[in-house]
């Protein structure tokens, strides 16, 4: 299942609708990395609220997405990680270091708006 990517001003928003296969994740990665430059976006929000399991591949891919997007000149915020998922990830050592996180989409947007304001 493909992940829809919405454009909201200067931000791209990708919302996971369900647990994704590895192929879907790879597809999402290349789509995001292409579109972030095409739309001249300043940030990407990946919403993982719907994921109640996060395996090591998904978590690694999220980190890769964040790092690739930084190299493409934008920022990534991962939002909506479930409490149980968060703790499971940490126990597996998948801490998404260097990637911004927020409670939910609203928080993520607030975080980015604040940041853009400072940068202006």
């Amino acid at each position: 299942m493909e992940v829809p990517i919405l454009k909201q001003g200067q931000v791209l928003i990708a919302t996971f609708q369900a647990a994704l296969s590895d192929a879907d994740l790879n597809q999402l990665r290349s789509a995001l990395v292409q579109q972030v430059v095409r739309f001249r976006s300043r940030a990407v929000i990946v919403d993982v609220t719907a994921m109640d399991v996060m395996d090591s591949f998904a978590s690694r891919t999220l980190r890769e997405i964040a790092h690739m997007i930084r190299l493409r000149g934008a920022e990534t915020v991962i939002v909506g990680i479930q409490p149980e998922v968060a703790f499971a990830m940490v126990q597996l050592g998948l801490t998404l270091e260097g990637v911004a996180t927020a409670l939910d989409l609203e928080e993520g947007l607030a975080y980015l708006n604040q940041k853009f304001k400072i940068m202006k």
């Binding site: 939002v79 409490p83 968060a86 703790f87 990830m89 940490v90 801490t95 998404l96 270091e97 409670l103």
Partner: protein, 312 residues
């Protein structure tokens, strides 16, 4: 000769076949009969000398400084009922009543600080006192003494066992109950300002409590939409490596939910533990005391607290 086939006795009009008691079993039965007869004799002896033996026992108890938490009168009263249940258990060879009594006794004396060794000690003393009186009574007839002791010892040991186990079980029950109570008052997650939680932790953290704590905190972050959490561990003297690791994981998991964690009030020992396990200090945000932690949290949230006016 070994009997290869069971031999069946004809048993009246009933068609059921019952295996015959072999000679050996008959011997055993005779022995058992004899031993219960001896026990009866023994019980009669103990009943007869109740007052004297009981006093001797109480004397021995205070001599060996057991049950110091209880007054002399209390010891005497308890000793009387223990003695009677003891004799009754010997007589009936059933231990349920004694077991119930032991549990009841434990319930009463555990809160007063009576230790396991004391309870075991007094029961063993009673066993010794009674054995001595048997020696004195049968010193002329050594064979009889031997047989009486054969009957007495297993029963006495079982009684000692029953009482000790009853006491320990009661104690464990109390401990379990208290653990339950501690767990219940364990970990409040409190909101002090919009988007700011504090989690004061007091007492020893074991792995189970640590897990519960993490769960509550992560859930609290979600329901209160917290951005900053202050974990105050002033009330925790020390933690082992497992729990320290768990704390670090909790901090990281909170970050994944978009909340910043500030840990305050680390004792020197905990600081040492964290350094030993090699915590990445870039991830851990620590402040000396709770006040400092809350101040920093307010800064992070963009609050500025000031006095309304100078009070003269």
């Amino acid at each position: 000769m070994i009997l290869a086939y069971p031999v069946f006795c004809a048993s009246g009009g009933v068609s059921r076949q019952v295996p015959c008691a072999s000679d050996e079993e008959n011997n055993l039965m005779v022995k058992r009969d004899e031993s219960s007869e001896l026990l009866r004799e023994l019980v009669a002896h103990l009943r007869q000398n109740r007052t004297q033996l009981r006093e001797e026992w109480v004397g021995r108890i205070s001599e060996t400084r057991l049950l110091t938490a209880m007054t002399k009168e209390e010891i005497f009263a308890e000793a009387t009922s223990v003695y009677d249940s003891y004799v009754e258990a010997l007589e009936t060879e059933t231990f349920e009543a004694l077991q119930a009594y032991a549990r009841n006794l434990s319930e009463r004396i555990i809160p007063r600080g009576v230790e396991t060794h004391e309870v075991v000690g007094i029961v063993l003393l009673l066993r010794d006192v009674l054995a001595r009186s048997l020696f004195a009574k049968y010193q002329t007839d050594f064979k009889k003494l031997n047989r009486i002791l054969d009957a007495y010892e297993p029963a006495a040991n079982r009684i000692a066992n029953t009482v000790a186990v009853g006491f320990v079980q009661e104690r464990e029950r109390v401990i379990r109950q208290q653990q339950e109570a501690i767990r219940e008052l364990s970990t409040p997650v409190l909101q002090v300002r919009e988007r700011l939680l504090i989690l004061p932790i007091i007492g020893v953290i074991d792995p189970q409590r640590a897990r519960q704590l993490t769960e509550q905190l992560l859930r609290g972050i979600r329901t209160n939409r917290a951005k900053v959490v202050v974990i105050d561990i002033t009330g925790v003297a020390a933690m082992d490596v497992t729990v320290a690791n768990h704390l670090v994981q909790t901090v990281e998991a909170s970050r994944l939910l978009g909340a910043t964690v500030i840990v305050t009030g680390l004792s020197p020992e905990i600081a040492q533990t964290l350094v030993t396990i090699g915590v990445d200090l870039g991830k851990m945000n620590t402040v000396g005391d709770l006040q400092g932690g809350i101040e920093q949290a307010e800064r992070l949230l963009g609050y500025k607290v000031m006095a309304l006016a100078e009070t003269s």
